[in-house]
Amino acid sequence: MTSPGQKQQASDPTRTRRRLRLSVRIACLIAAILCLWPIHASLMPVVGAMSPFIAIASLIATRSLHTVLVLGFVVALIAFFRRRFFCRWMCPTGLCMDSASSLGRKLKRKPSHGNILAAWLLLVTLGAAFLGLPLFLWLDPLALFSGLFSAAASPYSPAAWIPALIFIALLIACIVSPRLWCGCLCPLGALQDLLAKLPRMRRRRQSNSNTEPNHLTRRTILGTILAFGAAALTLAAARTRPRRLRPPGAVDEQTFSALCTRCGNCIRACPCGIIQRDTSGPWTSLLTPTLTFENDYCRQDCTRCTEVCPNGAIARTPLDAKPNVRIGLPRVDMRICLLGEDRECSACRRWCPYEAIRYVFDEENYTLVPIVDPARCNGCGACQTACPTEPVKAIRVLPYN
C-alpha cells in the first residue's frame, strides 16, 4: 500500500509541471484518437497494444508474442521505475476519468479508496490466462477507449453503443465517487502498482524484514486458485456452447471470447462491414466480433481485421495464407435451395472465389445438389451473400463444430 505522504507528493506537482503534464496528456489523447480514427489501419492496434495488461495476459494466454505487443512491455518496464507513469502522462482513459473525478471533487463528492478490487481483477485475469481465458481483459482502459469508436463508425447498430455506454457509466461513476476507476477498478493501474512493488519486495526479502504479512504473495496464490476455478468453470460451460463465426485467423473459440478485448478495431477496419458485435451468443462472448454474410463476404484480397487486432486474438494472417484459414463451412438446405426445386441457379458456384462448390447430379432424387469441398472452402461466405433465396438463405456458413 502506498503511504499518504507519497500520494501527497505525487499529486502535488509544481504549477509548470502540472501544465506540462496536461499538455502531454491532451497530446496523447489526440494521438490515440488519430490512431483509432480510420486514417490508416496499421495505426489502429497501437493504442490497445500500449497496455502491459493486454500484453502480459495475451502472452500467457496465447503463448506467443504479437510484434506490436512489445509496446506494452516497454510501458511495463517504465512501471518498474515510475509507478503509474503511464496513467499520469499518457493514458487517454485516465485523462477522461480524471477530469470526471475533478468534477466530482468540485461537487464535494467523497473520493473512493483502496485498489483491492482492481488487484483481484488483475490476478484473476492473469491466473485464468494460463488456462487460455484472460477473463477480464475487456476491462483494460485502452480497450474500453478503443471501444468508444464503434459507435462513431456504425451509429445505427445498438450493440456498437454498448462500449460507449459502459464508458459513460464509468465517467458518471467517477463523478459520483472520484478516482473510482483509476484507483479502485482499473486492472492496468493495479498491474503497474504490482510491477512497481516487485523490486521493493525483493529488497524486503533481502533485508529479511518479514514482520508485516506479505499480502501480495497470499493474494497472488488465492487469486490464482480463484482464477483457475473460474476459468475451469467457464471452460466446462464453453464445451456445450454453440460456436461463433469469427474473423479469419481468430484463435480457438474458448480463448478468443476471453482474449478479445472488445476494442472493436476489427469491426471498424472491415471494408465490407461483415463484422458485428455479438449480442445473440452466450454472455461470455458478449460484444466479441462475429461475422454475418447476409450482405457481403470476407474478401480474398483483404486481411485488415487481422492487422488491427491489438493482441493477436485475431492472429496476423498473410494474404497467401487466407485460403487456408477456416472461418466456417457452408451447409445447404435442400428444402430451400432453388436447385432442389429445379429452378435455374448457379449463384453460389459462380461467386465462390475458391472454386469449392460443385453441383452434382443426384440420380435418386433426379436433382442437382451443391457440394462444398471442405479442403478448398475457407468459409468466406461469398456463397451465402450470393444466394438468391429469401428471407432465409439456402446456403449458410456455419461455424466448425
Binding site: L339, R343, E344, Y366
Partner: protein
C-alpha cells in the same frame, strides 16, 4: 482481288445450280404459297415415275461410306444470313434488317423462339442489374412490351421481377416481327456446314426436305446455340459439358384441393406459374453431360421422359392432386452449353466485380436478381479469333466458365443477338470483315435501336 473472285464464284455456283430462286428481287416480300393440284381431290399427282433429281447418295466402297463431291444448289444469296431462329437469331435478323441489310434467317424447327418456346424455358431470367434496373432493352424489351399487349402472353412484368411468357404467344409474336421486318425466312432447315473461301465464311449449307442446299451471304451470324457454323468453318472453340434437362408443363393446378393434404405431404417441384390459368412450367436440370454427343442426347430424352411421367404419377397419388396432368414435355431437349467460341475478347466474372468498361461495348448483360451490377459485353466476344465473316450470337459467345450461366440466359441472348445483327449489317454494307467493322457506327445504330450500352 478477293472480292472479284468471290463475285465470280457466286455467279458460277448459281449458274450451275440453275436454281436461282429467292435472289435480291424477292427480298422484302412475303413469298406466296405455290398451290398445286386442281384435280378436285385433296391430292394430285405432281409427277409420275419420278426419280429424285440431283441425287448424290453416299457410296459404300471398301467398307467405307464415301460422300461424293458434288455442287450444291444455292437457295438464295443475302447480305446477312442468320442461322438459328431462337431469341438471339430472331433479334439478330430483325436488328440487321432494321440496320438496312438484306437478311435471311433459317431455323431447324417449324417455329421461332428456340429453347424459349420449343424448349419451354418460359422464364425471362437475366435482364436485371443493381437498381433494380432492366439492362435488356432494344428488341428484347420491344418483345416484352408487345407480349404485354397480347392476351395471356406474359405475367410478372414488374421492375426487378422475372416475367414468364406463354410459348405460343412468343411463337406468334416472332412470326409477326420477322414478317414486319421483311426478313427472308426458311424453316425446317438444319444448318450442317459452312461455305468457305480461304479463311472466310461465304455462306452456309443446309439440309432440308428439299435436299442439301446452300445460302450465300456476306456475313453469317451463328445463332445456333451450339456454334455449329463457326465450328464447321474451323474457328476454334471450347467444348464444354453442362446439365441437359427437359422442361414440361403441368395442368389442372387450379383444381388442386390443398385442404386435403398437410404441408409436409404436398408434392414438391411443381414448377412455376405461366400466363395460362392452372398451368405451370416445370424445369429440370438434369445431369452434366456432353450436349453434342448423339448417344447422350438420346439417353437424356429417354430418361427425362420416364422421370417426368413417373413424377406425375407420384403427384397424382397425393390427395387433392388427382386431376393434375402432364400437358406436354418440351419438343426440344434443354441443352445449356456446348461449344463456346474462342473470341477476340472474353466475358469474365471480373467484368462484374470490377465493372469493366469496354471501348467496343455492344450490349449490357444482367442477372436474375438485383444482387450485383451490370456487365458489359465487348464486341470481341462475338468475333472468332481467326475465321472471318462469321459472328457468334447467343449462348455460344466467348465467356469464361462462371459467366456462361449468365450469358446463356434468354435476355442476354437478345442482347448479343441484336449486337451481332447490327455488326453484321454494318460489315456487309461496308464490305469489310466483321473484325474490322466500324465500332462507333455499330454502337450508334444500336443506340438508335434503343439498346442499353451502359
Amino acid at each position: 482481288m478477293s472480292k472479284r473472285i468471290s463475285r465470280r464464284d457466286y455467279l458460277r455456283i448459281m449458274g450451275m445450280s440453275g436454281l436461282t430462286v429467292g435472289t435480291a428481287a424477292v427480298f422484302g416480300q412475303s413469298t406466296p404459297i405455290q398451290y398445286v393440284g386442281e384435280s378436285g381431290f385433296q391430292s394430285s399427282v405432281i409427277a409420275r415415275n419420278k426419280v429424285q433429281p440431283n441425287r448424290s447418295p453416299a457410296l459404300l466402297a471398301n467398307g467405307q461410306v464415301i460422300q461424293p463431291q458434288r455442287s450444291l444448289p444455292v437457295l438464295t444469296q443475302t447480305d446477312v444470313l442468320v442461322v438459328g431462329g431462337g431469341p438471339a437469331g430472331v433479334a439478330a435478323a430483325v436488328a440487321a434488317r432494321r440496320a438496312g441489310a438484306e437478311v435471311t434467317i433459317v431455323e431447324r424447327y417449324g417455329h421461332f423462339g428456340g429453347l424459349w418456346t420449343g424448349g419451354l424455358v418460359l422464364l425471362i431470367l437475366g435482364h436485371i442489374a443493381k437498381g433494380p434496373k432492366q439492362v435488356c432493352q432494344g428488341i428484347g424489351e420491344e418483345m416484352m412490351l408487345r407480349l404485354e399487349k397480347m392476351d395471356r402472353a406474359i405475367i410478372n412484368r414488374k421492375p426487378g421481377q422475372n416475367p414468364t411468357v406463354d410459348a405460343e404467344a412468343v411463337k406468334y409474336l416472332m412470326v409477326e416481327m420477322i414478317e414486319e421486318a421483311k426478313v427472308n425466312v426458311f424453316l425446317h432447315c438444319w444448318g450442317v456446314d459452312a461455305v468457305m473461301q480461304d479463311n472466310a465464311v461465304r455462306g452456309a449449307v443446309f439440309e432440308s426436305k428439299s435436299g442439301r442446299q446452300a445460302i450465300l451471304a456476306k456475313v453469317v451470324v451463328d445463332a445456333t446455340g451450339d456454334g455449329d457454323v463457326f465450328a464447321a468453318a474451323g474457328a476454334s472453340f471450347e467444348h464444354r459439358s453442362h446439365n441437359v434437362g427437359l422442361v414440361s408443363r403441368i395442368g389442372n393446378l387450379d383444381r388442386v384441393d390443398t385442404a386435403k393434404t398437410s404441408d409436409a405431404e404436398k408434392p414438391t417441384r411443381m414448377g412455376s406459374a405461366t400466363p395460362i390459368k392452372g398451368v405451370n412450367w416445370v424445369n429440370l436440370t438434369g445431369p452434366e453431360v456432353d450436349g453434342l454427343d448423339l448417344a447422350t442426347l438420346t439417353r437424356m430424352e429417354l430418361n427425362h421422359r420416364k422421370f417426368i411421367w413417373n413424377k406425375m404419377q407420384t403427384t397424382r397419388r397425393v390427395p387433392g392432386y388427382e386431376d393434375v396432368y402432364l400437358v406436354e414435355t418440351a419438343p426440344q431437349l434443354g441443352v445449356r452449353i456446348t461449344r463456346i467460341l474462342d473470341g477476340l475478347n472474353t466475358i469474365t466474372l471480373e467484368s462484374i466485380t470490377s465493372a469493366t468498361k469496354f471501348p467496343d461495348v455492344v450490349g449490357v448483360g444482367g442477372a436474375s436478381s438485383a444482387k450485383h451490377g451490370e456487365w458489359q459485353i465487348p464486341y470481341g466476344a462475338l468475333v472468332p479469333q481467326k475465321v472471318d465473316n462469321v459472328l457468334a450470337a447467343g449462348r455460344c459467345v466467348c465467356c469464361d466458365m462462371r459467366m456462361a450461366d449468365l450469358v446463356r440466359l434468354i435476355p442476354n441472348c437478345f442482347v448479343t443477338g441484336q449486337a451481332a445483327g447490327v455488326a453484321a449489317a454494318v460489315a456487309a454494307r461496308d464490305r469489310c470483315a466483321p473484325r474490322n467493322a466500324d465500332i462507333a457506327e455499330i454502337q450508334k445504330i444500336l443506340r438508335q435501336q434503343e439498346v442499353y450500352l451502359g
